[in-house]
Subunit: 464 residues, 2 copies
């Protein structure tokens, strides 16, 4: 009941805000809502401090330039855990907002906040991002940033109306191998890029069911909400971990753009089998009757205005080792790697060998792959060389350090983040576009140009 | 001039044959054109004895069950080379047909031929196959079997009208690793198959230009005709090496069928760069002005009636090591390998490690790839165990031995070949269908059902 009341009042608030926006000239609103100046500390608040949100709390708490001022979450327990993290770092207690799913709106009214990091269920990211920008605070959105095309536009339109930046917190863009790949692209190692592959290939069956067979209200953490997308949607519901680094390497929204996408899905078998074969489940468990909508493997083919193609895979329902399935190919050669320094291939003698491989004409031996290890080292990105020690202690092998640092630095330096609202919209739009294409048997869908033509003259991202 | 006259007279002949067919009831024609009985030897003729045709001559010449009776080729030199091969094996000289491109029709009139192996430029395969079946002789067609949908139908319709079998000589279907994969599928290792990948990823720039920059009449061997397809067509012009083994594993035309395909092509850069950067070429060479039609990487996505998806890649214009890019994924796990026992990855210490990898839930260690080597051994196909010694001496690591043996055995045993006319049509139709899809920006195209409904009840291929 509390939820219902809060949701209703939220909608009312949002409607008023929307009506108000229409009356205020954009420029005036932009001036009014500019991020508040910070003297010394960047004041960060968090909406969503579940497992993922607390990763960010933990990283950002180590940053001496930051003051952590508030937490919002529907779970008071989660907030208590977050408080413990910052207390252990010698920080003062943050203000708490735990009165239901729209209590974050109260948080956003606080004047002592410069940026808000949002790590909530996917369907909440965009609306919270919009509200955050409207409140004049930098928005940092976990991935994906949106699940519908309207949400993508909401983010872009709000950014353009308010002038308040919005960053998509795509941590894989800061992976050591991924940044080395970017470095190689910029230095022309591959020649002119023609083709790329990437994806999110991760056996999530355990996560979708807390290693049992339950999800939704009976479950905890991601199984509470993420699994719902497997039941209800047939789409690439999680495209950005693979696509982000490739989009950066291909200058998407900056001289290049996603043009069209065609997507197909396989039959859905994996989750049903998992429930049936799980000791806690079985053929007679009620969840064995669920008709899962999400195909076990979803493959999308994107064409870009510069003439490259990108194959994006979503593969989370069947057993497999983790991979982001990277491949980048140009007129000089190509690289293939699993990404994020994934595991290797176990040999018969027990040794583990990396599958990462590269071929560069005239640099590697003809007709033979070479281990990519040496190349990753040679083209190590300056950012990693500089911050290796700090990064190594943080989440996901260091990438969370860099993405959180960039969010904080952008606020501190009062500039656009490296990964901006147009990236958030274009990358996230793969979810609704792939859904439409799958429903139409692979019919190509055109990407909206979220930049409204600005992509032609925007400069490539400089990650540094 | 000779060519022109011959082509005209060929068309006339073909038209008469076609008119005749309409007057004869199918059953009567089938009876009349049944393969002639063989007492002891299978009598084989060859149309096309260039480099590839002579591989077949060489293999088949080692088969004591075979009599080699005739060679047709536009090049008398090529025929002379073929004669040398069989002479060295102690065989009598074969009859020669070298009076231009349609002289093979004279060959087909000879009564002392049971089967004809056709290894000519792609655009000739189907019409020669049709003429061979009409002449009552088993047709063995090099890949692809056809380049247009009409040709695919011509093959099927002629087979159904004459009752004379037609085999697509897809040698990779007999690869040791590929047959081990099939064995694993049949034994349920992967569970229910949901997804597959394959392709033809082979840097053909040297072959397309004889390592220089010329092609067509000024060039030799494949550069005489193959390169023409790169100039004129934007399609997966060579789909069957990857797709054949996957189609066999997925029971295509036998309980399953290709339903639809969506294809995209990247920009075409590789061949132009190759010409410009070649010492024999350069920016001012006339061939530097050619606008190549074939995209450097062509990616097709096929949906099957059983709900699997197959990603097929054609990648021949840019530098890279050879690969057939196999991946087969089911509800129990997956395998990834380059195919045909391709090369490995060179490590920093100089050792070469195979990239072939497998993951099977409960059989391999959690979250970790295992080298596929052990699995290939454990599931080695009985055919390879039996004929390893004979096979190893023949082309392409042994696969040519098996495909040629199957062609001869089918004739000897008066039965359908394992890879039949419906396979030839379905696999080869990827070329015209991908061309249409690319031209329509990835619009899905529907596969014709070449079996006219028979796929629902046909039994899976037994390779043995």
């Amino acid at each position: 009941m509390a939820n219902k009341i809060n949701r209703r009042s939220f909608i009312k608030t949002a409607a008023i805000a929307g009506a108000g926006m229409a009356l205020i000239p954009n420029k005036a609103l932009a001036d009014k809502k500019k991020p508040s100046p910070t003297e010394t500390k960047v004041r960060i608040a968090f909406i969503g401090v579940g497992l993922r949100g607390r990763n960010h709390v933990s990283n950002i708490s180590k940053n001496p330039d930051v003051e952590i001022v508030a937490f919002a979450d529907i779970s008071a327990d989660a907030v208590a855990e977050a408080q413990k993290i910052i207390k252990a770092d010698g920080r003062a207690k943050a203000e708490e907002f735990t009165l239901g799913p729209t209590d974050y709106l109260r948080l956003l009214k606080k004047p002592n906040i410069d940026g808000v990091l949002i790590a909530t269920p996917w369907e909440w990211h965009a609306r919270m991002g919009v509200d955050t920008m409207k409140a004049g605070k930098y928005a940092g959105l976990e991935v994906s940033a949106a699940t519908t095309l309207e949400q993508c536009w909401d983010l872009v339109n709000t950014y353009e109306a308010t002038g308040v930046p919005c960053m998509i917190l795509e941590n894989v863009c800061y992976g050591r191998q991924e940044l080395a790949m970017l470095n190689m692209v910029k230095k022309g190692v591959f020649g002119e890029i023609v083709h790329a592959r990437c994806g999110y290939l991760h056996d999530l069956r355990g996560i979708k069911f807390n290693n049992g067979v339950e999800f939704g209200p009976k479950a905890s953490s991601e199984a509470q909400w993420r699994t719902n997308f497997s039941e209800k949607m047939n789409a690439d519901v999680y495209p950005t971990h693979g696509l982000g680094p490739i989009a950066v390497a291909l200058d998407i929204n900056r001289g290049n753009r996603f043009l069209s996408i065609s997507s197909v899905a396989t039959k859905a078998r994996g989750l049903h089998e998992y429930i049936v074969e799980n000791p806690q489940g079985g053929q007679n468990h009620p969840n064995a009757d669920i008709k899962w909508n999400l195909g076990d493997v979803v493959t999308s083919t994107i064409k870009t205005s510069r003439g490259e193609t990108i194959i994006v895979t979503h593969d989370t329902n069947v057993p497999r080792p983790y991979s982001l399935g990277f491949k980048l190919q140009g007129t000089n050669g190509l690289i293939e790697f699993d990404g994020l320094e994934s595991g290797g291939i176990k040999q018969e003698d027990g040794t583990i060998v990396s599958p990462d491989r590269i071929y560069i004409e005239g640099k590697t031996e003809p007709h033979e792959w070479e281990s990519a290890a040496k190349w990753f080292k040679e083209y190590d990105h300056p950012l990693w060389a500089k911050f290796e020690a700090e990064a190594k202690n943080t989440g996901h092998g260091g990438i969370d350090f860099f993405v959180d640092k960039e969010f904080v630095d952008a606020i501190k330096e009062k500039r656009e983040p490296e990964l901006d609202v147009y990236d958030a919209a274009a990358w996230s739009s793969v979810t609704p576009l792939s859904e439409m294409s799958i429903e139409e048997n692979g019919e190509p869908q055109f990407f909206p140009d979220f930049t409204r033509g600005k992509w032609m003259n925007r400069k490539p991202i400089e990650i540094n």
